[in-house]
Amino acid sequence: MLRRKRFWFAIMAILPTFAIFGWVRLFPIIETLRLSMHEWNLLSKNKPFVGVQNFVELFGDNQFLDALTNTAIIAFGAMAVTIPMSLVLAAVIYHRTRSRFSGFYETAVFIPHVVSLVPAAMAWKWIFDAKLGPLNAMIVGLGGDALPWLFDPVLSVICIIFLVSWQTLGYGVLIYLVGFRNLPKSVFEAAQLDGASGVQSFLYMSVPLLKPITLYVSVVTLISGFNVYAQAYVLASDTQGAPGRQVRVLVLDMLENSFQNFRVGYAAAEAVILLTIVLMLTMIQFGLLRGKGGR
């Protein structure tokens, strides 16, 4: 009797949340999957089924491929920069935990992550500005040539990688710090007695022992890298007075297809591809983690 009462309470209590969830999450996800196999131009009532045609077309679409390449470069590039830097930075900050400045270090490192995307991008947009920015001013002052940071296709991608890394660094440092704090202290004392210097301890002990965290941060930064949008929108776009060259990223391409080109089904197919990439990355993470037997 009691169990039935509890059962009904549970169902009733979770129903609202589940209902909302169904509406704002489940339904749209299913819709996206469904739409990806249809053609819809927003205006007509007609949404003909086209099977995998959208996908086939995508892989021949240069703009999409361009977006995919850019996004992948940004995601992997940001990860490649963020991981080693945040690991080393976290190691040093952890080493100086007893310093009176440790609070300052942790806060300062994390502030770029806290500042919302757009103001941060604005800050960097000025720095990278070819005609007015201090970066070029510094380069010229040192005798080099001013570079078209936000115009050149290669350079603008580098700028975005830089911006994304700068923002993600704090997050990485934070997670690594938690990792460092959970490392067994006696293992490091044993290493010290065995003759390991600080650097050797770091390389032979900390890095291998922090592998699970490295894996986690890698995947998280990769996934968020693939979803990059705001930074590209602000930094290297020409909707600002200080012009830049538009860097096409996946999300941008997707939204463009949906709302500017009126091809919703096509855009949905892009979304599905994005989803597949994210799922694959997550699978890989789980696989690698399980392979090592966890910890």
Partner: protein, 278 residues
């Protein structure tokens, strides 16, 4: 040099290095704020100055009186607060149920939450947009909210905490004492969840405050922009006035930073928890 002195010297060098790195990390933001105080003319000077020669408050004045920035701030704030309330309440209740009521149907629901947790919002926001449009919620706080009513991670966080720190015996005792389920949730469970709920609230607020892709899709009218969207689209009305732009960005940025410095513990707790969800 003795071992002790050597250690002290290394620490000193490390401190210096860290200091420099931290300052470097913060430099772009400092420059942004500095730019806000420059006159528009000074912004166009080459080579650019780092700090204003002739600091002025006119940009900030303009930003608050002549641009919709205040309106945008209101939008963002209302959106973030409402989203936080929604997320915290749904997560608390759902997390509690999933954690302490292991019925089959509840577990099925949990698996569904789990399965969709890693799917980024950008993937399914287009159909959601059409939903919102159909309901006439475009360009409204409601429309913004629709995307940010629940947070899978929030549900997991509460579930973890409920399992880890609320013993079954406590609930049983309360039931025996005659407490109704809702009463138990309100008076027994919630107070014990204060810490994680606070961390979650900070996280949810931050998520809504900094959201970009969804707001930019849902809002097309200038008065309904959130701060992020408004700033990003600043240009169309205010041409090449970088100092004004910087002032606006700075005005948006500074409260976030101050809030972070004050709430650092909760923030860090929330983010660290999201890291340990594995």
């Amino acid at each position: 040099m003795s071992a002790k002195a050597r250690v002290r010297r290394t620490n000193f060098m490390l401190d210096i290095a860290l200091f420099i790195i931290c300052i470097l990390l913060l430099t772009p933001l400092i420059l942004l704020i500095a730019n806000g105080f420059k006159t528009p003319q000074e912004m166009l000077v080459w080579p650019p100055t780092l700090f204003p020669k002739d600091p002025t408050l006119q940009n900030f004045q303009k930003v608050f009186t002549e641009t919709p920035l205040l309106r945008w701030m209101f939008n963002s704030f209302a959106f973030a607060i409402l989203s936080t309330v929604a997320i915290v309440s749904t997560s608390a209740l759902a997390g509690y149920i999933i954690g302490k009521f292991p019925f089959r149907s509840v577990n099925v629901i949990f698996v569904l939450f789990l399965a969709t947790a890693i799917i980024p919002f950008e993937v399914y926001m287009i159909p959601l947009y059409f939903q919102v449009k159909a309901l006439g919620f475009l360009n409204s706080i409601g429309g913004l909210l629709v995307g940010y009513l629940v947070m899978s991670f929030g549900i997991f966080l509460i579930r973890q905490n409920v399992i880890a720190s609320i013993p079954d015996e406590l609930l049983e005792a309360a039931r025996i004492d005659g407490g109704g389920e809702l009463w138990i949730f309100w008076h027994v469970v919630l107070p014990l969840l204060r810490g994680p709920l606070a961390a979650l609230a900070v996280l949810a607020f931050f998520q809504a405050w900094t959201a970009f892709a969804w707001p930019i899709v849902v809002t097309t009218r200038k008065t309904s922009f959130t701060i992020e969207v408004g700033l990003a689209n600043f240009q169309s009305a205010y041409t090449i006035d970088l100092s004004l732009l910087s002032a606006a960005s700075a005005a948006v940025m500074v409260p976030s930073v101050i809030a972070f410095v004050l709430l650092r513990r909760n923030f860090v707790e929330g983010i660290a928890a999201s890291g340990m969800k594995e």
